[in-house]
């Protein structure tokens, strides 16, 4: 049997008491802050996961901001192209009327003037702006892209051929702009079609008008296609937006799982720790007090 001295007893009682107090204090801290991890070192593995999730969560917010800007820009493009489709329709109707044999030079020349008006509006739509920048100019966004030549017989593109992209989600870049030269001049020259019909009308030449009507048809169809393509591109971006918002919700759940306290569990653990503390103090008091001197 080993010898037990007063110092030993005191030391044991105090030591156990400290350990219990520590446990109670940390549980209390967890409850008060609602967080399981006061520092990364409390649970490094969990903490690392929580950190990773947090970084991703913040990224989501930035992507959403970028998507908002992209959508606004693309919607402005969409309304400009919609306007162009309407103009093309009007132009077609007018041209059809001009091929009618019952029209005469005077009425055709009036139609030519109307057509010129339509051309101007088309060029204006080509020069549409959003937030102070020209939409269809490539990356030269402060320079007007489309200019009618002095003789009114041509439209020059003065923007550039580059596109700009925006990050809309991890590893995913969306091209935001439509390049004016590619869309409105390359395969189907929108402006040239209007100019040709106008000139034919002014020359009072219904056969020529008929010839150019085919090109005008093609232009109308092309603009409709462009609108469709733009619409589906906008739809894709909106889908990405929805996906990202769902991911955000997911991530905040995951973060909470790692970081936050489960109230019920922690409270019951606190109660147990308190009970242990009380029992330890009680037992300690019993052991420390009595000595032989009390009984002499």
């Amino acid at each position: 049997m080993s010898r037990v001295t007063s110092m030993m007893v005191t030391r044991n009682v105090l030591g156990a008491n400290q350990a219990n107090l520590n446990r109670v204090a940390s549980l209390q801290h967890q409850l008060a802050t609602g967080k399981r991890l006061a520092q990364l070192s409390d649970d490094p593995i969990s903490g690392r996961r929580a950190m990773t999730f947090r970084v991703q969560y913040n990224e989501m917010d930035r992507y959403l901001a970028n998507i908002d800007k992209t959508l606004a820009f693309q919607q402005a493009s969409e309304s400009a192209v919609t306007g162009m489709v309407d103009i093309a329709e009007e132009a077609k109707a007018l041209a059809l009327k001009a091929t009618n044999g019952s029209e005469d030079a005077a009425s055709r020349s009036a139609m030519a003037r109307t057509m010129d008006g339509l051309l101007q509006r088309m060029v204006d739509l080509g020069n549409a702006t959003h937030d102070g920048r020209y939409i269809f100019a490539g990356t030269a966004v402060f320079d007007k892209p489309f200019d009618l030549t002095a003789d009114g017989n041509g439209v020059l593109y003065q923007g550039d051929q580059d596109d700009f992209q925006v990050s809309i989600s991890k590893g995913n870049r969306a091209t935001v702009n439509l390049n004016g030269a590619k869309v409105f001049q390359q395969d189907h020259d929108v402006f040239k079609a209007l100019i040709d019909v106008r000139n034919a009308m002014a020359a009072n030449d219904p056969e020529a008008v008929e010839e150019h009507l085919a090109a005008l048809d093609g232009v109308h169809a092309h603009l409709g296609d462009t609108l469709g393509a733009l619409g589906s591109s906008i739809r894709r971006v909106e889908l990405t937006q929805q996906q990202i918002e769902a991911q955000k919700v997911n991530l905040s759940e995951l973060i909470s799982k790692e970081e936050d306290v489960d109230l019920a569990e922690t409270i019951s653990r606190l109660q147990m720790a308190e009970t242990t503390l009380e029992a330890g103090l009680n037992a300690g008091a019993r052991v420390l007090r009595p000595t032989l001197l009390d009984y002499i």
Binding site: T5, S6, Q39, V166, L293
Partner: protein, 679 residues
């Protein structure tokens, strides 16, 4: 955060110092006690109070350092620390702290500066913290900072911006004084902590490939005329040459910019006078020199991939030229030849540092137009012959020749007459944002040549041009491809004609002439890697971040002052954000830890290491506390006091005393009775 870590390191250092003073205090008190105890023991009973006090001091000392205690027969103690005597019978050795190499703080003996081997105790723990743990963390963060800076600065420097048109550009890094002729990738240029001069290790330029073999690298500079918006692109190309690799110091770079050649650097296309409208020099500052680039008034500098080049404007339109002879005085230099106002051919070099012309020789031209029958022209030790008939000499035009280190001309056809364009031909300009990765290769330029002459944009007399371009993945050589296009009514003057990878050409109004005898072809420079060696970030030119360590890192003042100075694009177009996208991509690149981690992963990894260490140490601490408690219990088992035991023994003594007192009483009665009988 780096500053906090530095502060912690400093405070650990001062804690170490004050603990050392504590050790000194304890050991001198022990020595004094030793003297008193020996004196006390010599005169009789051992002085127990003093011995108890000494034991208490020994206990305190052993929490600070691990010592060996030897009890002497005269009750004094000798205390050994790491094999040397710390406390003797009458004196103690003093310790102090001293800075040794690598910035470490060590504990040494004050008299001979001998190193103390610490093992165990608070001193060793603090020393370990101060000398290993904290500096390692600081070094990790510095590594992260430098790597991030190198990457971002390199991308930023090769960007452009429609608003920023700097006429002068200065490097932020200071090359230490006296090292202007040291190779820029020499490790002796490394910046030591606390110094102003030097390039942080990890940001030094690299003129070698992954295997360590010297390779040629390019640096592109664009000089833009701010009034017309037309820019010219020049490439400073480093060629290692043979073994040892050609010199690549700051002076060489400056000389190349000013004269066209310097060390292993040379300028392409080789125009007279180095890069026109641009002067470089080494600006003297505190501690050394900074690179300073100054453009002429009305011109701006950038290092981007923008391509507004009018290649037809500065070429020799005369006949072919042959130069023979050699002159050792011209070794390694670029010699320029100009046709002057008064009908002379003048040859000159440009001084590398001042940029001044130094005329080599000049000779009168025999006639306004070159004639094969004319005798060769002698300039100094060189002989110039004009070949073939051509249009007259044009005043102001010139050509250049590079001379070898022996003073001879390089080889074969010595003069690089790269382009030939008739004055009256229509102009052409090259535009766009080159999205490929192929760098400039001197013998394989992009080229436009006229296959069939005609009027641009005409339906029945359309010219045919052929474009030659390079494609590849950017590592080493590139494949040449061609594209032929007829400039008919579908391509009126001013139309953008795409060539490849985002590069397009625009022709002006006018005529093109067939390429007879190399008379209508143009070379132009397209460079997908504007700064292959990382010179711009090494010298701190147009950097986004300044500073060399995690603690000193900050955003450049010019960018903070105005967001217009943030180079967001690859071209000067207003809506171009591609440079920022490149910087974002760099976030994902794995450049750290042997190319396995990107910036965020590295940071999290190191953070996690610290957290795990803290967790482990906390666990060890509670383990050790339990062990310590059980040891103390063992000690108390043997030497501790149990009150019950003592009280029991005391009662026994009391009873024994009472019993003895009783016996004394009985004896006294006995003796009294005896005395009564006798008396």
């Amino acid at each position: 955060m780096a500053r906090d870590l530095s502060q912690q390191r400093d405070s650990a250092g001062s804690t170490l110092h004050s603990l050392t003073r504590d050790v000194n205090r304890l050991s001198s008190q022990l020595a004094d006690l030793n003297i008193d105890i020996r004196r006390g023991s010599a005169s009789g009973a051992p002085p127990n109070d003093l011995i108890d006090a000494r034991d208490e001091l020994l206990r305190e000392l052993s929490t600070l350092v691990q010592v060996t205690v030897r009890y002497q027969p005269d009750n004094s103690v000798q205390v050994d620390l790491g094999g040397r005597l710390l406390v003797g019978s009458a004196s103690s050795a003093e310790l102090t702290t001293e800075q040794i190499d690598d910035g470490k703080l060590a504990v040494v003996y004050a008299d001979d500066r001998g190193l103390v081997q610490l093992s165990g105790g608070r001193l060793q723990a603090i020393a370990h913290m101060r000398n290993e743990v904290l500096p390692d963390i600081i070094a990790d963060f510095d590594q992260l900072a430098v790597s991030m800076m190198r990457q971002m600065n390199g991308i930023h420097a090769t960007g452009a911006n429609s608003a920023a048109r700097p006429q002068a550009v200065m490097g932020e890094m200071v090359i230490p004084g006296g090292m202007l002729n040291t190779n820029l990738d020499d490790p002796s240029l490394k910046k030591e902590p606390g110094q102003i001069a030097g390039i942080p290790a990890g940001m030094l330029p690299e003129f070698v490939d992954e295997l360590g073999n010297p390779q040629s690298t390019n640096l592109s500079i664009n000089i833009m005329n701010t009034a017309t918006g037309v820019a010219e692109k020049y490439t400073i190309r480093y060629e290692p040459g043979g073994v040892p690799a050609a010199s690549r110091s700051l002076n060489d770079l400056i000389s190349a910019i000013n004269t066209g050649r310097g060390g292993g650097f040379s300028v392409h296309p080789p125009v007279a006078g180095g890069i026109p409208h641009l002067k470089a020099h080494a600006l003297s500052v505190d501690g050394g020199h900074k690179l300073s680039l100054q453009a002429a008034d009305g011109y701006a500098i950038d290092f981007s991939r923008s391509l507004d080049t009018r290649p037809s404007e500065s070429v020799w339109t005369g006949a072919g030229i042959d130069i023979a002879g050699s002159d050792p005085d011209l070794a390694g230099k670029r010699l320029h030849f100009d046709i002057t106002n008064d009908g002379r051919l003048e040859a000159y070099t440009i001084h590398p540092q001042t940029g001044n012309r130094e005329v080599y020789d000049s000779v009168a031209l025999p006639s306004p137009a070159p004639d094969p029958a004319d005798p060769p022209l002698f300039l100094g030790d060189l002989e110039v012959t004009f070949l073939g008939a051509a249009s007259e000499y044009v005043i102001g035009q010139g050509f250049t020749a590079d001379l070898t280190n022996a003073g001879d001309l390089a080889d074969g056809d010595p003069v690089e007459v790269r382009s030939n364009w008739r004055d009256d031909a229509a102009g052409v300009s090259i535009h766009g944002r080159y999205t490929g990765a192929v760098s400039m290769i001197p013998d394989q330029p992009w080229n436009m040549s006229v296959l069939k002459g005609g009027t641009i944009g005409s339906a029945n007399d359309a010219p045919m041009v052929k474009f030659t371009y390079n494609v590849g993945d950017g590592s080493g050589g590139a494949e040449q491809r061609t594209m032929v296009i007829t400039l008919d009514e579908h391509y009126p003057p001013g139309t953008q004609i795409p060539i490849a990878d985002g590069v397009y050409a625009i022709f002006d109004d006018g005529q093109l002439f067939e390429d007879v005898g190399g008379n209508n072809n143009l070379d132009f420079t397209v460079d997908g890697q504007p700064d292959q060696a990382g010179l711009l970030s090494a010298l701190g030119v147009q950097s986004l971040f300044h500073g060399g360590t995690a603690a000193t890192m900050k955003v450049a003042d010019s960018v903070l002052a105005s967001p217009n100075n943030l180079l967001v694009g690859s071209t000067r177009a207003n809506g171009d954000n591609s440079n920022i996208l490149r910087m974002l991509d760099a976030r994902q690149e794995q450049l750290l830890d042997d190319d396995s981690l990107n910036f965020e992963d590295f940071y999290q990894d190191r953070l996690n290491r610290v957290a795990t260490q803290v967790n482990q140490v906390a666990q060890q601490k509670s383990n050790q506390a339990a062990v310590q408690a059980s040891l103390e219990n063992r000690r108390d088992q043997i030497s501790g006091v149990n009150i019950d035991e003592e009280v029991g023994l005391l009662i026994m003594q009391q009873q024994a005393y009472q019993a003895a007192a009783r016996i004394v009483g009985i004896e006294r009665e006995n003796i009294q009775a005896l005395l009564g009988i006798l008396g």
